[in-house]
Assembly symmetry: C2
Homo-oligomer: 382 residues x 2
Amino acid sequence: MKALIAALMLSVATPVWAGEPCCATGDLGLVIERATGSVLVIDRSDRAAIGRIEGLGDLSHASLTYSPDERFAYVFGRDGGLTKIDMLTRTVAKRIVQGGNSIGGAISDDGRLIAVSNYEPGGVKVFDAETLDQIADIPAGAKTIGLVDVPGRRFAWATWETGEAFMADFSGPEMKLTKLGDVGANPFDAVLTEDASTYLIGLFGEKGVTAIDLWDDQPEPVRFLEDYGKTEDDLPVYKMPHLQGWAFTEGQYVLPAVGQYELLWVDSDTLQEVARTPTHGQPVFIIAQPASPYVWVNFATPLNDTVQVIDSRTHEVVKTLTPGAAVLHMEFAPRGAEVWISARDDNTVAIYDTRSFERVGEIAADSPSGIFFTARAHRTGL
Amino acid sequence: MKALIAALMLSVATPVWAGEPCCATGDLGLVIERATGSVLVIDRSDRAAIGRIEGLGDLSHASLTYSPDERFAYVFGRDGGLTKIDMLTRTVAKRIVQGGNSIGGAISDDGRLIAVSNYEPGGVKVFDAETLDQIADIPAGAKTIGLVDVPGRRFAWATWETGEAFMADFSGPEMKLTKLGDVGANPFDAVLTEDASTYLIGLFGEKGVTAIDLWDDQPEPVRFLEDYGKTEDDLPVYKMPHLQGWAFTEGQYVLPAVGQYELLWVDSDTLQEVARTPTHGQPVFIIAQPASPYVWVNFATPLNDTVQVIDSRTHEVVKTLTPGAAVLHMEFAPRGAEVWISARDDNTVAIYDTRSFERVGEIAADSPSGIFFTARAHRTGL
């Protein structure tokens, strides 16, 4: 009888996950469960959760990146934790706490180096992707923001207090650090265009956006959109839209108008504004649907139950959906057939067909935020 | 003693492959060994061959595509063979001979359908990706060329004898076949731009290139480059450059000038020629290096020991390399750090660092031609 109870308890305690044990890793992904410090392992083809990994610390502001073989994920948590996850065994392979307040990281194009940018103590640290041993510690005397990988074992970032941008090159026997220039007061985020040509830096301390052409032999910061930025002096920094939410489509940058219910469209050659699109709310993420003319947009609270689809040729809204309460993130299947949308307060990840706009599936998740498919392993600047 | 001899023979007969048994599939690939009907399994991270699969029939003109989970490859052979390969077990999972003379295929964006285009008996056949059971047979009364996958469970192709283009849509309960238009005399190959917006069709029977905007509600063929095409009446079809060898970079199409030692650069918006680049020989493949301004070009016999690197901003040659005898194909690591180059007559795949141009590795292969990394699973139109 005791044995029976024990067996029953075991079967209750061990969740039964859908699908067979997987091995190929091309269609897997992770969903950040922000309240519980856990991640859900998902199988895109089966539209199913296949496991949960716990013990990742504070994931209230988390991002991650994948190794080139799509076996390992490196999760950057708010508490400075760097956790290496094995997608095959669905376990934590290694975890270190590398700083006091980490805000993001990147993996080098050869998959050998993991760089992490820190608010506390500031600077950038670089680790061996296999062992998580520290390889470099690059103090900045400032918070570092907008860390991206650049082709050729390089990383770029900007500094909040000192308004500078830097590039570190790990392609030779010694790391080479180069200052890319003075970019303006209080850069709060930065992003790399998908061809890796242009590093775009958003400013909090003054108006405008700074672009640096990384393909230039002597890169120099160029200011554009001179009116872009905060509209009130007391606008808190957490209301500034993240630049990871800028899309690049049809020769345009698409970005949120700060504090407005609008998108801005900027010609990527001339750096001039070419159109505005009125939207349902304050845009948060603007994400280009692969192999299509469309971008998908979610919105800031309290209008965050809605997603809109906008045509980048006409700049018009073509569809409005209400996937659920507190839509935090959207991730496309790499060839664009589906979009997965996290609705935090519904504890759901909803799956939509991008052509029919039908809801084709959903997955239970605990306060889901970021969704990350392994196909990201093959993209630059994420 | 007999047992010892048997053991020795076995160890001779079983090649010892580098590396451990792999499981994650994100950094694997296949190299077509054209003379022996075999494929070599490669590990990109280890720069090593890790297996060989034999019995694939006539691979003298072969291509392949991958399932979304990067577990299975579908190889299209010249003999009409369709072979499904399991990258995990490194075995043939299934093989059928579906036609008399096949020239290429594609996988639907949801990974469920495999389409094959045939010279003999003509038409397109569609198979279940899991079982290889036939799902549709679409006779064309003509040889079909330039078969591509289009988002939304669709495929497009053109017909040689009748000069038409078609789209088949498998998103509903019944397949829907639409004629896209009359595209010109004897289309010999076609290709989809990387944003899946434009289907480009090369003509053999007359001059010019035909473009069809697939994002248009009523797609119509548009002719451009009115002087493009064969320069002599007796130019055989096999000398026409394949359109899979066209690159898309920095708002331009880059294509080989037929019969000339030149590249043409065409503005993708205006469809006007904007520049020409003199090259070492007759260009065959022109491939854009990911996350860079560069395209890499190989050349027709007898100048086929050479590869040139050209800057798409200046249209100038920046590097000339001689990787080996009979360079047939080039494949980039998905984030562009390396290029793998097959040198058929050296029985070698050479690996170059794209930034330093150093030869960083090589792999022995038997008359290698096409090189295909699993990251292709995540790209449209291949």
